[in-house]
């Protein structure tokens, strides 16, 4: 297929980008989601503004207890960047699960979160990490939490003219164990379900736990009742099972050719248990 006619601009400053966005342009990042949609004519933006040349959007910086990741950072960079591998391995492990090498070389974290595909991988990790997203428009900049950001399938709190500027994730405290488990949809490679887990132990008990879920329903979420059930336990197999059984509680699960709602919920529990078990084994 071929797209409809569109204008294209590739400025090298954030300021010019924001001006164009203000005038109604649509941002183009890695193009891994947007271009296929344009070719299928499911999207037909009249003006594209390519963020590729904007150096101000491409960085990974550590500052205090946080790591700031510019929106244009590719999945491959997230997967391999030493600071992330050491201090936020959950995000790196998640990035490594996205698509194939070509996709990871072009696709960006900003594009992925803005696109808000309900089967995308990052959102699970970002929920578990309680990440913050910095959004910027011509008039204002604001910071929202991952929990607020993802509203519905392909829907976020982004307003017209606004883009994701950066994603802020915590630098993990020493001893945190993390894991991303994914059930791969065999055709698309996206997540049928994805479970991201972070745990810490203290005095033989689970002192901290976060569970982020993607793929199960219209948007990613934190499985807070599973977290509450696991917290304070020793993290024994039965505790893990009890907690994992709750990850899909009250969720209106998606159903498609590849997995019915019930099966999706079942997979979420099975993989939550596996992810929690691995995360605990990685916690020290």
């Amino acid at each position: 297929m071929v797209p409809q006619k569109f204008e294209y601009a590739a400025p090298d400053s954030l300021k010019s980008v924001l001006q164009l966005l203000d005038a109604g342009a649509k941002p183009l990042a890695g193009g891994m989601s947007l271009i296929p949609m344009m070719k299928l004519r499911l999207a037909a933006p009249e003006q594209l503004v390519d963020l590729q040349k904007v150096k101000e959007l491409s960085y990974i910086r550590e500052s205090g207890n946080a790591i700031h990741i510019g929106a244009m950072t590719t999945h491959y960079e997230v997967e391999t960047f030493p600071v992330l591998l050491r201090k936020c391995p959950l995000l790196a492990e998640t990035a490594a699960e996205i698509g194939d090498l070509q996709v990871r070389n072009r696709g960006t974290i900003g594009g992925s979160v803005a696109h808000a595909d309900p089967s995308a991988d990052y959102p699970a990790a970002l929920q578990a990490l309680e990440a913050k997203l910095v959004l910027i428009g011509a008039q204002k900049e604001r910071t929202v939490s991952a929990a607020e950001f993802f509203v519905d399938a392909f829907t976020t709190v982004l307003e017209p003219g606004e883009i994701v500027r950066e994603v802020i994730v915590p630098a993990e405290e020493l001893g945190t164990g993390t894991r991303y488990e994914k059930v791969v949809q065999p055709a698309s490679g996206f997540a049928i379900v994805g479970v991201a887990v972070r745990v810490r132990r203290s005095a033989g008990k689970i002192s901290f736990v976060r569970v982020g879920i993607t793929g199960l329903s219209n948007h990613s979420y934190r499985a807070t009742s599973a977290e509450a059930t696991l917290a304070g336990t020793t993290g024994a197999a039965a505790d893990v099972q009890n907690a994992a059984a709750l990850v899909a509680e009250g969720i209106d699960a998606n159903s498609d050719l590849h997995a019915s709602a019930n099966y999706r919920k079942h997979l979420a529990s099975v993989h939550a248990a596996r992810a929690i078990t691995t995360a605990i084994s990685r916690a020290s």
Binding site: L40, D100, A187, Y263, V270
Partner: protein, 777 residues
């Protein structure tokens, strides 16, 4: 085996793992495909297609499209009514053949049915304008499932045939009633082979160029059968066949889907005449899903009668074939191949088969790698396992018991075939050794105790290759070759088989190099242009080497005789031999090289008696029979007891394709075939909903296996030459697909057998298995 060059041994190339000579251009991106053809003032076509599976066309508004920038023409079915119908080449008694217009007239029959075509200066403008064509439809009830289509009260696909029966076919062999009456046990099973999408990497594409003054049409098209396309498109367009030139540049995969004549091929030829300019149409991936033939689409009802000792007495089979809305080139012939293959490699002499072809509001089915034979093999190999389970006999043992024995060849089957040669136990035993079967069963028993789900699946397949003798093939089953030795001694082979990725540019060169005692680098293989290559049939049905290669072989024999004659003149001797690339005088030992002899044959200073100048031979070789390769695939799989996911732990393939010209290429064919077989067994399915909408209509939903999803394939072979052709080759293009799917399914059913599971239909999705596990637990 060796020939001598002036006393030096020249190693034979046949049997060597030569790298494919066609690959450098393919992997460096310098090969030319249809979309790489650019002609002066070429226009682009975009096709408007039906979003409904069944609807009346009330009106088509084309004015907006006509006025869209860059548009030079818009055509609808009214304009093209004089173009001949899309042909069905197969015939069966009572076959109902609906007229298949190149653009729909009055009514659409499947989603994707072409309704109008827009021609514009570039493909963007063409698509923009196509979006402006407004078609008013009155949707009608549709039917997308073959069994539902045959049920009373189903919506008729074609109103003239309200029962939706496209054809029926019956075959009896031996005395099946007696066999069933005498049986100790009868096992029955409904087995489906789901609809699949052939998914060539290169979609279809056509460029048509009209030379009005000469009434000459050049048609570039991605096809497996350029000459048949020429004949049939010329007929559809009312052109002289000798003024239609079909050029097939590189073909990026066919798998049967390009063994066809499509509406778009004639349509572009017709448009080029109308607009007096070249026109290009390149199928989008979405169109490829909707409008290129699909494969399989079987619902099979099997009954197997046997003695308590496992001897199979007879087989009954009822096939319901999902035809789709029309017959494409070979649609109704495909399930008849399943019937031919239904006894597999077992000696039972009693069969009864019935086929009902059902029209549905879907894309027609037709040949997809294996074409009828994977369905049959899947059926019989599943049934043999079910029988083994019923009788508690080991699946390897029950197969050995029923194999056609080595001294029974040539073997006449109950379905009317004559199996050429075979040693069916050899690959089975080899495969069992490779997996260390006894130990493996022990490991399985141990694993079961630990709650693990491990399964071992055996498939001992046979297949029909080298399709096929002309009386058994819709368009003639021979193949042609012209071999030219140029004055310099370089060799050009023109093959009618039109290989397109199977590697014959290498294997035919290996054959020629050995026969003439020259290097493969001195041989060029030319294909795919009807103005250059003599009439040919094409590549499909694992026929390229067995038939096309044999034609090459016989042309080479002619030339060797002629080379000797010219050499004898040069050496002034009657007593010469041709070996190692030289004509040698047996008395003096003096020799003349092939280039010297070739030059003399064209210079023609002195001709041998009764001999014309030149070194060219054309042969059309008619095979006396099919060939029948066979083999054993064994799969060891493990099921995740919590999720139902199937992992293939081991894949052993022992294939016997007769003599082996290039084992490297054979491995490639086997690997590719197995990838498609595993695809069918585990992931792929073309799913239409009840309204005839294709739900798995994108690569995001249709799961073609990727490299990382494949197991390691341990590939081995046995060699049983075919007596059908002098090369002793049988064919291997489809073996992988045919042998594979039952091995995978048998392994998974074996893994789940403690739960009493006897059969699971493909694809073995994790969810399906999970349901079985949850019920069992």
């Amino acid at each position: 085996m060796a020939t001598t060059i002036a006393g030096v041994e020249k190693e034979k190339l046949v049997g060597k793992r030569l790298r494919r000579r066609e690959d450098p251009r393919l992997i460096t991106g310098t090969a030319t495909y249809v979309d790489d053809i650019h002609l002066e003032d070429m226009q682009y076509a975009a096709i408007v297609r039906s979003p409904h599976a069944a609807a009346r066309i009330l009106s088509i508004e084309i004015a907006a499209a006509q006025n869209s920038p860059g548009v030079i023409a818009v055509f609808t079915g009214k304009d093209t009514e004089k173009v001949g119908g899309v042909p069905c080449g197969a015939s069966l008694p009572g076959l109902r053949v609906p007229h298949h217009n190149v653009l729909a007239v009055g009514r659409v029959y499947f989603v994707g049915h072409p309704v109008a075509v827009v021609v514009a200066k570039d493909r963007y403008m063409a698509q923009d304008a196509a979006d402006l064509v407004e078609v008013n439809y009155e949707p009608l009830p549709a039917v997308a499932d073959p069994e539902k289509a045959l049920a009373p009260g189903a919506a008729p696909v074609h109103p003239e045939w309200p029962d939706n029966v496209a054809f029926t076919f019956h075959q009896d062999g031996g005395d099946v009633d007696k066999a069933f009456a005498e049986a100790d046990v009868v096992v029955k099973q409904r087995i489906t082979s789901q609809r699949l999408i052939p998914m060539a990497m290169e979609t279809r594409g056509v460029v048509a160029e009209w030379h009005g003054a000469d009434r000459q049409l050049n048609l570039y098209t991605s096809t497996q059968i350029p000459h048949l396309v020429r004949t049939l498109v010329a007929t559809m367009l009312g052109l002289d066949e000798n003024r239609v030139r079909v050029i097939t540049p590189e073909v990026g995969g066919g798998f049967g889907s390009k063994l066809n004549v499509y509406a778009e091929e004639a349509l572009m030829g017709w448009i080029a005449q109308k607009i007096q300019k070249p026109v290009k149409w390149i199928e989008t991936r979405r169109e490829n899903f909707l409008c290129t033939i699909h494969g399989r689409g079987h619902v099979d009802y099997y009954e197997l009668a046997a003695k308590r000792d496992g001897t199979i007495l007879g087989i009954k089979l009822k096939i319901i074939q999902d035809v789709g809305a029309y017959h494409q080139l070979l649609t109704p012939a495909i399930p008849t191949l399943s019937v031919l293959m239904m006894p597999g490699i077992y000696k039972t002499q009693n069969i009864r088969a019935d086929i009902v072809g059902a029209f549905t509001n879907c894309m027609p089915t037709d040949a997809y790698r294996g074409a009828g034979r994977p369905e049959a093999t899947h059926g019989i190999e599943r049934m043999v396992d079910i029988l083994a389970d019923e009788l508690q006999i080991d699946p390897a043992e029950i197969r050995l018991k029923n194999f056609v024995a080595n001294d029974q060849f040539p073997f006449h089957t109950a379905t009317g075939l004559m199996y050429d040669s075979g040693n069916y136990a050899a690959p089975l035993k080899k495969a069992l050794d490779l997996v260390d079967y006894g130990k493996l069963r022990q490991e399985q028993a141990d694993a079961r105790k630990q709650g693990k789900w491990i399964g071992i699946g055996i498939s001992t397949y046979g297949e029909i290759c080298a399709i096929g003798p002309s009386p058994a093939t819709p368009a003639g089953g021979w193949e042609s070759a012209t071999v030219k030795i140029e004055p310099s001694g370089k060799v050009t082979i023109m093959t009618g088989a039109c290989p397109h990725g199977q590697g014959e540019e290498t294997t035919f060169a290996q054959i020629a190099a050995d026969e003439l005692g020259i290097s493969v680098d001195d041989v060029l293989v030319v294909r795919g242009d009807t103005s250059i290559v003599q009439y040919g049939i094409g590549t499909f049905g694992s026929r390229g080497t067995a038939i096309g290669g044999t034609a090459v072989y016989f042309a080479l024999q002619d030339l060797k005789e002629k080379i000797k004659k010219f050499g004898a003149v040069l050496l002034e001797s009657d007593d010469v031999t041709f070996s190692g690339g030289n004509v040698v005088c047996n008395k003096t030992g003096q020799s003349k090289s092939l280039p010297e002899v070739a030059a003399s044959a064209y210079r023609a200073m002195k001709l041998p008696p009764n001999t014309e100048p030149g070194l060219v031979s054309t042969r059309f070789w008619e095979p006396p029979n099919f060939t029948f390769p066979f083999g054993t695939h064994i799969v060891v799989s493990e099921i995740d007891g919590q999720t139902g996911e199937v992992k293939i732990r081991r894949y052993v393939a022992v294939d016997d394709c007769g003599n082996r010209i290039n084992p490297l290429i054979i491995d490639g064919q086997v690997h590719g075939g197995i990838a498609q077989g595993i695809g069918q067994a585990l992931w792929e399915q073309a799913v239409y909903d009840d309204n005839g909408q294709l739900l798995s209509g994108e690569l995001t939903d249709y799961a073609v296996p990727r490299a990382h999803m494949m197991p390691w394939i341990e590939s081995e072979h046995t060699t049983t030459p075919s007596p059908v052709n002098p090369l002793g080759v049988k064919g291997v293009g489809e073996a992988g697909t045919i042998g594979c799917s039952p091995a995978v399914v048998n392994s998974v059913v074996d893994a789940l057998s403690p739960l009493g599971v006897r059969h699971i239909d493909m694809p073995l999705t994790p969810e399906k298995i999970w349901h079985i596990l949850s019920k069992g637990a």
